[in-house]
């Protein structure tokens, strides 16, 4: 059986839920507390895929810094999940910037866009249509997730895995 290792990055403004999405995906749990990430935390998860095992190295990066991301964090990324917080409109506007930074170092790397915290229905500030329009404009699929309930979290990573395979 072949094992392929690939680096993917989680990008997005601070507190959109990047760390929580990884925690849900890798450890299957959720934590209400907010601990800002600085630098990068790398997690591993093996995905059994029809073509063999895909070992994802997931780079959970600090977001929303006034400094642009260090290029060594993004270099060598095969793809990325770029997330916004559906309850904070400003977090959607940052999609462009993260996509640009990723593609500057990894031209054409697949991206899956995520609207997270879909469970907070009453606080919703970004509509489905707005999320879809932004994703389509940047040329990637989008998924609405909740790291809290687990909704669509696996699906988002699986969608990226599919795109990585399609590109190899």
């Amino acid at each position: 059986m072949t094992v392929v290792q690939q680096k993917i990055c989680l990008l997005g403004e601070f507190a959109v839920g990047k760390t929580s999405l990884v925690r849900r995906f890798v450890e299957g749990r959720f934590d209400d507390r907010y601990l800002s990430t600085i630098g990068v935390k790398i997690s591993r998860k093996a995905l059994p895929r029809p073509a063999g095992e895909l070992l994802l190295l997931i780079w959970d990066l600090a977001g929303g810094d006034e400094f642009s991301l260090q290029s060594s964090y993004l270099r060598g990324a095969a793809g990325a999940l770029i997330a916004c917080d559906l309850t904070r409109a400003s977090t959607l506007a940052a999609f462009d910037r993260y996509t640009e930074q990723l593609w500057a170092l990894n031209p054409g790397a697949p991206v899956v866009f995520i609207g997270n915290k879909v469970d907070l229905v009453a606080e919703r500030a970004i509509t489905d249509a707005e999320l879809l329009a932004a994703s389509q404009r940047l040329g990637g699929p989008c998924v609405r997730t909740s790291a809290k309930t687990g909704e669509q979290v696996e699906a988002a990573f699986a969608l990226l895995a599919e795109q990585l395979e399609a590109r190899r």
């Binding site: 290792q5 690939q6 680096k7 601070f14 507190a15 907010y34 601990l35 800002s36 990430t37 600085i38 630098g39 990068v40 935390k41 790398i42 591993r44 190295l57 600090a62 929303g64 260090q70 060594s72 964090y73 270099r75 060598g76 990324a77 095969a78 309850t87 904070r88 606080e123 500030a125």
Partner: protein, 337 residues
Amino acid sequence: MTAPTNPAGPVDLSARAAAAFSRLYGLAYARVGPDLTIQQASPAFLALVDQPTALIGQPLSAVLWEFVGADEALRPVLAGQSPRYQLERVNRELPDGQIHYLTFWVVPWSETQPGAGLIVIVEDADRFGQLEQSLVQSRNELHLAQAQLLRANQKLEQLATTDDLTGLPNRRYFEQALRRELDRGQRYRHATALLLADVDQYSPFRDLYGNPLGDEVVKLVALLLADRLRGVDRLARLEAGSFALLLPETDLPGAAVVAERLRERVAREAGPALTAQRPGAADGAQFTLSLGVGAAPAQAATPSELWDVADAALTHAKATGRNRWSTTPTAYVISSK
């Protein structure tokens, strides 16, 4: 002090420096060959990897996940084209159970021999990392608190313009809408109609059956009034059993048709609906509406004039027997019944 034995050949200054640091400070470092496999590692470096035994000869990226995908970035350093590769603040939970913030430095093994290999040095920038983390944490929490405050204010604004019981706009909001609509009507020479509606004998009913049932009646009537309005129409609850309805681009005869439709619907459905919803509470009770109708510019030029006209018409409807609508008697009187 003796330099460590180096199976790969003569040791130059940077190698000797790394070895010396390693002994003095327990520095974590490894030597990597031109093929990017590990050739030698310090004891502190071994503590950072999953399987310290089978280390030698393994690709760097197989030993440290941090280097998966980094080959392309390392080659220029190996070739002497780039002075170093550096990866800062890598969060690692070490065996002490704490999160450590590590920096990986990769520099050429030999300053005189490009291509000889690389040294990977791992620095534990713990204290600075934790300090920076707490700074970033405070800043981010402040931003989040601001965002929450903004949302709370919007909610407050909404509460200030909404009637709690029915969820309809309240009087304050309605008066603003009326002003805006009359302005617009004047500009585009459109007629605008205002309906004021009271549930007949509402106060005696509430006194007799209590507030909870009185509230039920208001909610039922609100639903009946709101049903089948146009998107531009604005319905508000003013107080107790009183409602106001703004009909843009509607003249007096048009408004009278709406008034009659609402009167008829409430008279027919409100009583039975309450009985169905709360059996035994006030079985057989009937509810009717009195309505006053006014229109601008035919009867009034300003919002307060229009309000007065509709209010006078409402008083007239009540005085002449209730369960009816009326236009003001001072203009041309048309009324139901």
